[in-house]
Amino acid sequence: MPVSTTPQGQPVWRRRTTRAQWLQYLAWLAGVSLFLLCWKLISDNTMWVFVEDAGRQGADLISRMTPPKWGYANVLWKPMWDTINIATLGTALGIMMAFPVAFLAARNTTPHPLVRSLALMVIVSSRSINSLIWAMLLVTILGPGVLAGIIAIALRSIGFVGKLLYEAIEEIHPTPVEAISATGASRLQVMNYGVLPQVMPAFAGISVYRWDINIRESTVLGLVGAGGIGLQLNASINSLAWDQVSVIFIMIFATVLVSEWISARVRHAII
């Protein structure tokens, strides 16, 4: 207990020992200095003239964005359909690939520790690279278009679904698995009847959640040429047609809200 005594010999309660208190001060000092150092680096690389101008620029932007050019929405239905396709097909492809990877990565179902670390490697590299970067790579390889977007979304989804699913697999009850293996079931049968029914609800929930995230992500993939509504967004920004941009924003907002609502409903029904 960090108790010290007064000169009269009475104990005084304190929360921390002197040493801990000093360590805490030092940690705060280090943290604040680091922040200020980073801030200085950023501020050196910033043209402050432009920042001071920001209010006027923002007002100007808003005045250009309103009123939205509603007629432009008619051009957007096909790109929006493409966007939803990118997200949905990408998610489907991604979860198909993530499913075996998750079983290989979970400690209790993996055939070999070496395979497990390989699967974890796949999951980590897929998770740490943003779908936009995947899209940039794939556009240079496959050419611009929806296909690059679908595969980019799929590659990014492997890591997310794989990680959450393998954690779910590691948390299953061992008793059904033991019961099934006691009947003399083969490895695959144990997976099929002991593990799979336990993780299926989690799997469905994770997939729908990822689909919801993918809808958001697929709206911007077009910025690097991977199809969908992002292409129109990029074109409108490059031609400074901000009234078209605001229509696109409203459509994205509405789509994301709907997809979020669907995903929340489905996950609610599952859990």
């Binding site: 680091l34 922040f35 150092l37 980073c38 801030w39 680096l41 950023i42 501020s43 690389n45 910033t46 043209m47 003239v49 432009f50 920042v51 101008d53 920001a54 620029q57 923002g58 932007l61 359909w81 493409d82 396709n85 949905t88 097909l89 489907a92 980590v124 590299s125 998770r127 740490s128 690279i129 943003n130 936009l132 970067i133 940039m136 790579l137 240079t140 390889i141 496959l142 050419g143 278009g145 929806v146 296909l147 679908i150 009847y193 029914p197 299926m200 609800p201 469905a204 958001r216 992500e217 709206t219 911007v220 910025l223 690097v224 967004l233 924003f249 994205i252 907002f253 809200l257 979020e260």
Partner: protein, 272 residues
Amino acid sequence: MSEHARQQAAQRGQWRRLPLIESPRLRWGLAIGAVVYLFLALTSVEVNWARVAEGAGRAVNFLGAFMQPDFVSRYDDIVAGLLESLTMTLTSTVLGVLLAIPVGLGAARNISPLPIYFVCRAIIAVSRTFQEIIIAILFVVMFGFGPFAGMITLAFATIGFMAKLLAEDIEDLDWRQVEAVRATGASWWQTMNHAVQPQVMPRLIGLSMYRLDINFRESSVIGIVGAGGIGATLNTSLSRYEYDTSAAILLIIIAIVLLCEYSSSHVRRWTQ
């Protein structure tokens, strides 16, 4: 089939697994809907197979580049971009979390009045629906090119994320402790400080670490629209077909994310 009928069938040796979706009408409806959708979607996807075949060589080049990443020839650009990304990540997380705390308090239904609740929820909704990169486009127009726009973008995105989770955490907190502190005649500030804050702090620290990790990942892409960071370097190297440099940058990003994840799981274990 009822539970009893199932049991009897099982005793006769006819057993089938319980389906995931209970009502058969919904189950078949979903299956048919999925097939129809897949048909419509797959027929509407246009693929230029000639272009894909042409790109196959590039794919091989790219995989080759991953075997031999080139950290050296663009060393200065990579370091500058990386430093910018890291500083952006840190400052934006700190600013975002600081700003998210009041918003999060306001968005918790149990401690805030209705008008404030709606305003804070609206902030969260706007910040969460738009991708970082879309926000970055707007902020680049407002604040000019460079890491400042990127920092503001990431801070803005952090507000939505942190405030939502913080508000949910506050809504779930143990109300008895709040009552106990209030019963001593504590003011609003004191209640927050002694009843609410100790309960949400471990999760807040864990989430901040997680957000730090996310912000780094995002900072590697917002450079594409001119908001500074390693994304700009990556984009340039890709469009110049310098795959060995791009591979080096990607490997660095993966390594840093791994490091972040490892240390954040450590911190979370330590605080909880």
